[in-house]
């Protein structure tokens, strides 16, 4: 303890660490009625960190060449000590990231935290959502299995229905007319460099907006659950008499992360192949399309929507419209009420949307 204090004093005299600790940690007050859903963001940050670390480790042995990619992944899975563990953590982690992200998004929707003055937070989060979808899609191709190859073919093909620029867009995405080595090259660059940097940058922005505006108060157990924001000048939303972030809510975050880890490790060690199909372990063969190629579970609703409409462009446009609606939600839903049970119109639309998405996904799985 003596040494710790000496170092702390040394740093404090130079950069004022005690002041930082007081402002950001022990003095950073959160609303008393804060709930566990507010941990989702920290869990996502943890998952992202794990993906980056396992991703870097995989980079050491993975070869991004169409002729060698599949073999290099087999090498990692079989011949590198604990390679199987690193790979499965990365593969399972990517699915977990999407799952927890959906929970995070839902909790924000239900607690009305996207409403003013937090529109920028919502927008940066929405962009992050799209980037995560993109990084999942690009990562999927890298093992160069039958599933990778053909799922990417189907996914990139859907852009072809856009009028005028469609076919050009498909070729541009793929780097060639059909999925091939050129596709692997650009998807690898996107997955390993461009998207992680973009995601990190946007996480920074997202956290900045959160800290600058002040964390929202959950609308539960309050007399007045409506938005109190005046909208005249900038004001930090503080919570006098609230609980300190450190150590109180930080420990809640730690508990949530530990629980997530238990769930994550259970999947990794006991059923990591939950998300894999037979075609995941057969090397890509451009001349043989397997019978039932399906995208990952989080794309099933999109896949099924495209299948429903005979004109692919209609299916694509509907999805574009839905996403645009979601992105602009804080500007469309201008009501100040935040408690879910006091927003019947929102609840009806939200529940309808969720049931529709789940229904389409299940249909997509069985079709």
């Amino acid at each position: 303890m003596g040494l710790f204090k000496i170092i702390l004093d040394w740093l404090d005299r130079r950069i004022g660490v005690r002041e930082i600790v007081a402002k950001e940690l022990t003095g950073y007050l959160l609303p008393r009625n804060i709930n566990v859903w507010y941990s989702m963001g920290s869990i996502l940050l943890f998952i992202f960190g794990l993906q980056v670390v396992t991703g870097i480790l995989l980079l050491i042995h993975y070869v991004p060449d169409a002729d060698k990619a599949f073999k290099s992944v087999t090498f990692i899975m079989n011949d590198v000590p604990f390679g199987w563990l690193i790979r499965m953590c990365h593969a399972v982690g990517s699915n977990m990231m999407v799952l927890i992200l959906l929970f995070h998004m839902l909790s924000v929707l239900f607690m009305g935290s996207y409403k003013k003055p937090r529109e920028l937070n919502w927008l940066s989060g929405f962009i992050l959502f799209n980037l995560i979808m993109g990084i999942s899609l690009t990562g999927y191709l890298l093992p160069w299995s039958q599933l990778s190859f053909w799922a990417t073919s189907v996914a990139t093909n859907s852009a072809g229905s856009i009028p005028v620029v469609g076919p050009f867009l498909v070729e541009f995405l793929r780097g060639s007319k059909l999925v091939g080595p050129a596709t692997l090259g650009r998807f690898f660059a996107l997955h390993v460099a461009v998207l992680p940097l973009a995601i990190a940058g946007l996480i920074g922005a997202h956290l900045f907006f959160l800290k600058r505006t002040g964390i929202s108060t959950p609308p539960f157990g309050l007399k007045e659950s409506g938005n109190q924001w005046q909208g005249d000048i900038y004001r930090y939303e503080d919570h006098p008499g609230g609980i300190p972030f450190f150590p109180n809510y930080a420990l809640q975050d730690a508990t949530s992360i530990a629980l997530y880890l238990a769930f994550f490790l259970a999947v990794v060690f006991f059923d990591p192949y939950l998300f894999f199909t037979r075609e995941s372990f057969v090397a890509a063969n451009p001349f043989q399309t397997p019978a039932h190629i399906k995208p990952e579970w989080y794309f099933l609703a999109n896949y099924q929507t495209l299948k429903i409409f005979p004109n692919e462009l209609i299916g694509l446009s509907l999805q574009g419209a839905a996403m645009t609606f979601l992105a602009l939600l804080p500007f469309i839903d201008r009501g100040s009420e935040r408690h879910p049970l006091k927003r019947p119109l929102f609840m009806a639309a939200a529940m309808g949307g969720i049931i529709l998405w789940i229904g389409l996904s299940i249909w997509g799985h069985y079709s």
Binding site: N157, P167, L178, P247, N248, L259, L261, F281, F287, L313
Partner: protein
């Protein structure tokens, strides 16, 4: 008024775009069919039947098409069936074993030494008698059955051989299933698959000597080879069991951590204002 004009123009453009036919749908279409299939698939009766039969075969599954056996040119419709391009046509009964034996060398050798082979042309069976000609499927013990064998003689002899092969065949199928299971878990089963294929092939090829004594004797040797494969599979099983054990420990540790963090937080709640 101007707004209405603009709106109408926009509506027309949108309608036109929506009605545009699907583009680039052909991007994921597979390779073009060979000329043999292009023609024969549309022909009636015995000229068109082989196509459907072949499509369900193990040959089709592995990219062995019409010209692989019958010769000819699969890309040039005009000269597809020209002897100059190696077209062999339909083989006569006596030429069938050599026809299939162009690829299935080992089987041909065993067949020719057998009583079946010696009876070729004198009422004896050819390859297609038991295996069919176009709908050839993966060989299994089911090909030796009462209906098929009693066409020419009593089933008793065949039954003896089938019984002698039964045990070994069961071992082969079990190894195949276990290997497929491991493949689904990312285990590199290349060596196992190759090893099993070699043993299975030599075993099935052996049958064509239709010599019960020989089959019985060789079965012991083949089972020894299979035991080696089984040992490898057992080793993998053991490895996977160990991993699960470690996994259980890791999950327990994470749950313990969650509990400790939770309790620690609770100690601060008492001092929360």
């Amino acid at each position: 008024m101007r707004q209405l004009n603009v709106t109408i123009k926009l509506a027309w453009i949108l309608a036109a775009l929506f009605m545009m036919p699907q583009a680039a749908a052909a991007a994921t279409a597979g390779p073009v069919e060979i000329v043999c299939i292009q023609c024969h698939a549309k022909l009636p009766g015995k000229y068109g039947e082989p196509v459907k039969l072949w499509q369900g075969s193990i040959h089709a599954e592995n990219g062995i098409a019409c010209n692989s056996c019958h010769g000819g040119d699969p890309k040039d419709a005009a000269n597809a069936m020209s002897p100059a391009r190696g077209f062999l046509g339909v083989p006569k009964e006596g030429a069938i074993p050599a026809f299939c034996g162009r690829c299935h060398v080992g089987v041909l050798k065993d067949y020719l030494t057998s009583l079946h082979g010696k009876a070729l042309g004198r009422g004896g069976p050819t390859c297609v008698t038991c295996h069919g000609n176009h709908n050839v499927v993966k060989a299994s013990l089911d090909l030796i059955n009462e209906k098929s064998c009693s066409r020419c003689h009593s089933f008793k002899q065949a039954e003896k051989i089938k019984a002698a092969m039964h045990e070994t065949e069961k071992m082969i199928l079990t190894i195949e299933t276990r290997t497929a299971g491991f493949k689904q878990q990312g285990i590199d089963t290349d060596r196992l698959e190759k090893g099993l294929f070699a043993v299975r092939n030599s075993f099935h090829s052996l049958f064509h000597t239709v010599d019960t004594v020989k089959v019985g004797a060789e079965s012991a040797r083949i089972q020894a080879e299979l035991k080696k494969l089984e040992n490898t599979l057992n080793g993998i099983d053991e490895q996977l069991r160990k991993r699960k054990l470690i996994g259980a420990g890791a999950v327990a540790a994470a749950l313990l951590a969650a509990l400790l963090f939770y309790l620690l937080r609770k100690t601060f709640e008492r001092t929360e204002p």
